[in-house]
């Protein structure tokens, strides 16, 4: 956390709205982008954005600098995203039991040929589209962990802190997600 950010947080904690805005405007674009990727819908993404930053506003006074501000913020983002799915009832049930999700993962992944066809060069936009589709095959928790790792570049340890669970659990979710995505993308990337 930079000195400037610390100062902004303290000023915001003391009720300075300009400082609060300056603080969150360093992150809100990324949060909105993540929400957009997560829900694939502008209205839902805007709802998530509002919910996240109102919660940040309400909870900032309790922030005690024990973690990075971004970790604390993304803990709220993950909570809001996972809850949002439950509320909107548009997605599958969020399992809190890892073994339950693992059962769904038992579909074989060994359908992939060894060498990719070099001629199958897919444009970036198409790739993104395929990956977005593949993301939909993941459970909400797998998807969130995958997105935090892949798009935001967080370490497993940091994601574990955000989701308040063990690093081993996060690792399992992530690797299950990756294998599931490989299966989903197999037909596209392999002849």
């Amino acid at each position: 956390m930079t000195q400037q950010e610390t100062e902004l947080i303290i000023r915001a904690q003391n009720g300075n709205i300009s400082a609060f805005e300056e603080l969150i405007y360093n992150y809100d674009k990324k949060v909105l982008a993540l929400a957009m990727k997560y829900v694939k819908n502008e209205d839902d993404a805007k709802d998530i954005y509002q919910d996240v930053f109102i919660r940040v506003f309400r909870g900032l006074k309790k922030f005690q600098f024990k973690s990075e501000f971004s970790t604390w913020l993304y803990r709220i983002v993950t909570n809001v995203c996972l809850t949002h799915k439950t509320k909107s009832n548009r997605r599958e049930f969020v399992s809190i039991n890892p073994s339950e999700e693992n059962e769904k993962m038992n579909t074989a992944i060994e359908l992939i040929d060894e060498e990719p066809d070099p001629e199958r060069v897919i444009k970036s936009a198409e790739i993104s589209e395929h990956i977005t589709e593949a993301l939909e095959s993941l459970s909400p928790r797998q998807k969130m962990i995958f997105m935090l790792k892949h798009y935001e570049g967080y370490k497993l340890k940091e994601i574990a802190e955000m989701l308040q669970c063990g690093e081993g659990t996060i690792k399992k979710y992530l690797f299950d997600a990756v294998r599931k995505m490989r299966t989903q993308l197999a037909d596209i990337y392999y002849a």
Binding site: L32, M36, K46, Q50, F57, R58, I131, K155, V178
Partner: protein, 321 residues
């Protein structure tokens, strides 16, 4: 051979979570294991694809909408929390007519009969609270005089058999304040009005009132409120007046950032021109632009739909090269 272990190491490898010892171990294993090498290759294909898939930046309009909505929601939050809530409770009855006030007035009519009975037919103790969690004792005269509104009577001792009663109620009194602009009490009301009043006319009047004061440079809290209004008030007239009032304040980094923000985000060309002029003026008197500021000017030079702004942006870039 423990292929499962190496499968996990492959994933850790591609997500940058592998340590050097494990990396060497994996590389050694891959030399001799076709199965894991196949796994590695398929993982690599996915990783290569993922490398090309970046999180797309959200549309600028969408971001602007979200920020505006957040600003409005924050105003509501402020209204309903802490100091502002207390302030609201103290002063809203004198300035605004609300459904709560109507309910309170109705309560006064109904409950007044009971109060009269208790006040003049008993010698009991009486409490009242003025938006305070701890009821305070008061005298009957203070409550009965003036325009105090009484509501929310709560009986502590409902049994009047022993000749005494005990109850609390809320008394809301219209307030009148006269004082200097830097008087904390005056300032609190002005800040509240500027940031939270729904009626843009009232917000505008508040800004004009501060502007008309003979004071050279009002308090820094007012400045912070003005910066917020300039950036986020949904009424262009209010934003413009706040912008003009900000000229009373010495130019500093906070004002510069706000001007850059306005130049970059405000939909009104009038606002953007005001911001541009303030920035240019400050630049002439020694304030420097950072590379980030200059990139905003670069963007404005190329994309702004206003000729004057494009021209000024070009001039700034030329002079700051």
């Amino acid at each position: 051979m423990n292929h499962k272990k190496y499968k996990n190491l492959i994933d850790e490898y591609f997500f940058g979570e592998i340590n050097s010892r494990e990396k060497i171990e994996l590389e050694e294993h891959l030399k001799n294991c076709d199965l894991c090498r196949s796994e590695f290759n398929s993982a690599k294909v996915l990783k290569d694809s993922l490398m090309q898939d970046k999180l797309p930046e959200p549309d600028e309009n969408l971001l602007k909408q979200a920020r505006n909505q957040l600003q409005s929601n924050l105003r509501k939050e402020i209204t309903h929390s802490g100091f502002f809530q207390k302030l609201n409770g103290m002063f809203s009855s004198s300035f605004f007519f609300t459904p709560q006030l109507a309910a309170a007035a109705l309560s006064v009519l109904i409950i007044g009969v009971f109060i009269g009975y208790f006040l003049f037919n008993s010698t009991g103790t009486m409490h009242y609270s003025l938006e305070s969690p701890q009821p305070q004792k008061t005298n009957q005269q203070a409550v009965l005089s003036g325009e105090t509104k009484i509501s929310n009577i709560r009986f502590i001792d409902k049994n009047a058999a022993d000749g005494t009663v005990d109850f609390t109620f809320d008394a809301v009194k219209p307030m009148h304040i006269k004082g200097k602009i830097n008087d904390p009490q005056v300032q609190n009301v002005l800040l509240y009005s500027m940031l939270n009043e729904d009626n843009p006319g009232t917000r505008l009047n508040t800004i004009n009132l501060i502007n008309s004061s003979k004071q050279e440079q009002p308090d820094s809290e007012i400045k912070n409120a003005l910066l917020s209004v300039v950036k986020f008030d949904n009424n262009q007239g209010v934003r413009l007046e706040a912008m003009k009032l900000l000229k009373k304040f010495n130019y500093d980094d906070q004002i510069k950032k706000t001007m850059i923000y306005v130049l970059q985000n405000d939909s009104s060309s009038g606002m953007r021109i005001e911001a541009m002029n303030r920035l240019v003026e400050a630049n002439k008197t020694g304030s420097e632009f950072s590379p980030a500021d200059l990139s905003v000017f670069r963007e404005k030079m190329k994309q702004d739909n206003n000729n004057y702004i494009r021209y000024q942006a070009k001039t700034v870039l030329k002079e700051n090269n």
